[in-house]
Amino acid sequence: MAIKKFAVAAYDDEEVLFPAVKKVRNSGYKLHDVYTPFPVHGLDGALGLKETDLHIAGFIYGLCGTSTAVGFMSWIFLSDWPVNFGGKPHFSLPAFIPITFELTVLFAAVGMVLTFCYLNQIMPGVKKHVFHPRQTDDLFLIVLEINDETSEQEALDYLKSTGAIETNIQVAESEWWYGRWDKKEAYELS
């Protein structure tokens, strides 16, 4: 959680945004994030985002599901409450497979959704600073981080030169926070 200073540039066209993103990445400014109203194909490549490790988490959740199912059913049918089903052995793996499969899928799916939400900071009740009211409507935003050594005016001019229709400087919470919108002030004052 940190209050930071940002230079915000709004673009009204995807075609302008792509070269702008490339220029900003090469310029040496610290890119905070890019906000678009819809998923833009190829933007993750242009931003140089690295491949997510979410699927590794999914594999681990799946393994947890598999072992939970097999372990739990084995415990039930071997020691807790052994029942004779049509003369089958108590530990009959084929009968366990469907439930094992379902629990593997369930654990992997639910775990991955929650992890995805956590990584993207989109849990219910989580608040984030909105840089521009139209960032979910029709504008594309590039947000740069400004530190002590950056000249604000230079950054704004640079963003203008890449084709931005609107630029400004904002001081805001850079991470998410939990709770009411007005808690933001508490963060910003602290």
Binding site: E51, H55, F59, G86, G87, P94, A95, I97, P98
Partner: protein, 410 residues
């Protein structure tokens, strides 16, 4: 761009050598197996049965995996899938050669049904002589030699016709006016037609006729779907092998790792789909525990075929899921090539295990005859597909979806 593919002398010689191996094996088989004069009558009958059963297995397996190429073209045409266009000539070339394997399969199947006979009964297709067997008499309306002959000929001619039709449509598109979509919409109608044909043959009735009727007292409603899954995953692996071969020759520059990744996903996903269907069939029979049904798995799981039963499970499920799960392995040429070959072999074994237990019992072999016939079929496949590939440009430059194929990202 390197659009033209010349069949390299090495490939031609290799496939001709494989065909020669196949023909020599067949001839040796005619004299030693079909003309077996073993004093022990059981072994003599087993030799004769082995001769036909292996031919039946290979003929059915190869015609089915080649027809998958026709199916994937039809499915991607209807779904307007663009990425397949980058290597579309490969399934087209395999599909255009379905007629060769269809003809071989028809000859073998008709010989097995009509010619093969030991002392007035047919060891592979018992239903040819149903007299004295109430169950087979009850199935006589469907399982009889004339129905079988008509069905086989209709199936293979329809598959062969559509295989050639899709290729001719695609080649006609090359000659059509730039950006003309007339043939594109026309091929969509043919694709819809083929899917109906395919659903009524490969996905339902044909495996009953050709394979399930080897054990005519037993039936499973999952069987055709299971056979289709087997054929589909090996058919996709076959396409992938040809694509990689062409890339190694410097062709198919439009095919990138993105396309390979998606083909790898097909292999991975349909290996799991195969296991899903296989297990659905197995578990219901295991759970129900009805003797008429469990007899099928009694022979395979606990009888002399148990080694094959578990080997197939490991090759077709455990290895693909563990090796192909990670993203880097689907983008690695060596891994996907190795897995494609392994999957084709695994499903060939699966077809072996579907057909052999009833006619052969304990007298099964997996030696020179099986491998020789397999090699012969592989040789025919390589030579015919390579020849077809060399006949036209490998890049469908006039295809309306080409741009989608070029910019494809998996």
């Amino acid at each position: 761009m390197n659009e033209r593919f010349q069949v390299p002398a090495r490939l031609r010689n290799m496939s001709l050598a494989l065909i020669a191996v196949g023909i020599i094996t067949l001839l040796v088989g005619v004299f030693t197996l079909l003309g077996s004069n073993n004093a022990d009558h059981t072994l003599q009958h087993a030799d004769k049965t082995r001769f036909w059963a292996v031919l039946l297995q290979n003929a059915v397996f190869f015609v089915m995996i080649c027809t998958v190429s026709v199916f994937i073209q039809a499915a991607s045409t209807l779904a307007q899938g663009g990425w397949i266009v980058a290597y579309r000539r490969v399934p087209e070339a395999i599909g255009a050669n379905v007629w060769i394997f269809g003809a071989i399969a028809a000859v073998v199947l008709l010989c097995v049904a009509f010619v093969f006979n030991i002392d007035g009964h047919n060891p592979i297709y018992h239903w040819v002589h149903p007299e004295g067997d109430n169950i087979l008499m009850g199935k006589k309306a469907f399982l009889n030699p004339y129905m079988f002959a008509g069905f086989t000929i209709a199936t293979v001619s329809l598959w062969a016709f559509f295989g050639r039709k899709f290729r001719s449509l695609s080649l006609a598109q090359e000659k059509a006016a730039k950006n003309s979509t007339k043939i594109y919409w026309n091929s969509m109608k043919w694709a819809g037609g083929f899917l109906v044909v395919y659903a009524l043959t490969q996905m339902s009735t044909t495996p009953w006729m050709w394979i399930m009727s080897v054990q005519p007292h037993w039936y499973s409603t999952m069987f055709s779907w299971y056979t289709f899954a087997s054929a589909f995953v090996s058919g996709m692996s076959l396409i992938l092998l040809f694509v990689i071969y062409l890339k190694n020759q410097g062709n198919l520059e439009l095919v990138t790792k993105e396309h390979m990744h998606d083909l790898g996903k097909f292999m991975f996903a349909f290996s799991i789909f195969w296991t899903y269907v296989w297990f659905a069939q197995y578990m219901l029979i295991w759970y129900g525990n009805i003797p008429e049904e469990t007899i099928y798995f009694k022979l395979r799981q606990q009888g002399p075929y148990s080694i094959l039963f578990y080997a197939i499970f490991i090759i077709n499920f455990v290895m693909p899921i563990l090796i192909l799960m990670a993203r880097p392995s689907k983008r690695n040429y060596f891994t996907v090539t190795f897995m494609a070959m392994l999957i084709i072999f695994g499903h060939w074994l699966d077809f072996y295990n579907m057909i052999m237990p009833e006619p052969l019992g304990v007298n099964w072999h997996l030696s020179w005859y099986e491998m020789g016939i397999f090699a012969g079929f592989v040789g025919v496949l390589i030579l015919s597909v390579a020849t077809t590939l060399s006949k036209s440009s490998l890049v469908p430059t006039n295809n309306v979806l080409l741009k989608e194929a070029v910019i494809h990202q998996s």
